[in-house]
């Protein structure tokens, strides 16, 4: 009987103590709740990623003007969108020999700009470590937004949209 009663009496000893310091307990809980609300709000305020810094805008303008040159290659299937957020020459045979070196340079410049874009957005938002995640997000969205007939890479294979 005594051994059974001991744990109960121990519990009863804690109960009034907890009640006596209920104020402290409530204060701590309220503090925690307030902290989490404030932090959630600040996290939501920062939920929009900044894509309008001068560096990012410059890269966007450069890519915008290059897109006019790349567009016929996307449409013919000479160039496709890779699964990792870049562009690649998919079928060089579709391009006249004289234009191939220009196309290679175009793809190289486009990919350099894309790297700068991903890195720039991550840096603009104070999180350079987000570059990989931003690149992955873009990779999916480039492919989703690609026009019908363009070639996109999925699971290591080229597919025509």
């Amino acid at each position: 009987m005594i051994t059974r009663m001991q744990p109960v009496s121990r519990c009863l000893g804690w109960l009034p103590l907890g009640l006596r310091h209920a104020y402290a307990v409530v204060k701590a809980l309220l503090c925690g709740a307030f902290l989490s609300i404030a932090l959630t709000l600040s996290a939501q305020a920062a939920a929009d990623l900044d894509v309008n810094t001068p560096a990012v805008a410059a890269v966007k303008a450069s890519m915008q003007s290059r897109h006019v040159q790349l567009l016929p290659y996307f449409q013919s299937g000479a160039v496709g969108l890779t699964a990792d957020g870049f562009v690649a020459v998919k079928e060089a045979g579709l391009v006249p020999l004289s234009q191939r070196s220009a196309l290679t340079a175009l793809v190289k410049d486009e990919n350099a700009d894309r790297t700068n874009l991903y890195r720039g957005i991550a840096a603009a938002n104070g999180h350079p470590e987000w570059e990989g995640e931003i690149q992955r997000t873009f990779a999916i969205r480039w492919i989703d937004k690609a026009q019908p007939g363009w070639f996109v890479q999925r699971d290591g294979q080229w597919l025509r949209k």
Binding site: L49, Q64, K145
Partner: protein, 85 residues
């Protein structure tokens, strides 16, 4: 009596440590929130940037601009023509 006093003091200390642990948990939660990658925001930003680069709404912009242009242009010739006769 002494034993109960010691128990009370120990209980008080326990409460304090519990409070400290709570605050520490709150603070660590705050750090965790900031480290999370805002996937939805990134997707939104990507859509915006891609639309700008590929000029996807190009087909929508002229359509939106056109109604405003004819609406203003007939008003001007009409005003000019009326005083003539």
């Amino acid at each position: 009596m002494n034993l109960t006093l010691i128990k009370k003091v120990a209980g008080l200390r326990g409460m304090r440590t519990a409070g400290m642990v709570l605050v520490a948990t709150g603070l660590s939660a705050c750090v965790t929130i900031n480290i999370y990658f805002p996937a939805a925001a990134a997707e939104k930003a990507a859509d915006k940037v891609i639309d700008e680069i590929w000029q996807v709404p190009a087909g929508q912009h002229p359509a939106a601009d056109q109604p405003t242009v004819p609406a203003t242009t007939p008003a001007v010739p009409a005003a000019n023509q009326e005083p003539k006769p």
